[in-house]
Symmetry: C2
């Protein structure tokens, strides 16, 4: 099965990387860009009997490895066979 997971910094956590990109945009003349946040996108290929099992496994993986739940939120956005 193939799954897509988004891991994003919580809204109240500073994103210095995004800030740096936003400043680079301004330096290049793109003043229309007000804010940029850079987050993580995972594409996972896994063995699972069904979508429920896959989602349970992905949830565990996110908690333990893919995300830092203190400063990040994660979301399994798609699971397909």
């Amino acid at each position: 099965m193939k799954a897509t997971v988004h891991v994003k910094l919580k809204r109240d956590v500073l994103d210095p990387q995004g800030k740096a990109i936003q400043r680079a945009c301004a330096a290049l003349g793109y003043d229309a860009v007000r804010d940029i946040r850079q987050d993580k996108l995972f594409e996972v290929e896994l063995d699972a009997h069904d979508e429920t099992a896959a989602r349970a496994l992905l949830d565990e993986l996110c908690q333990k490895l893919l995300a830092n739940p203190v400063i990040e939120d994660y979301r399994v956005v798609a699971v397909e066979a």
Copy 2:
């Protein structure tokens, strides 16, 4: 306007970061995880008259700053007012 952009390594480009995560999964006992790729997710807030203008600006930004077109593919997945 708010936009979401995905920047992914081209399929034939090695992703050592994803490989390391996949090995960490195996070390933690998650053998069901066959492959992981880590890509980038940008959330951009920008000023634009309409969606067409926003998409044109985002396209330019991706070409110049957000992606490396030699090894990465980008896609503007959503633009909303």
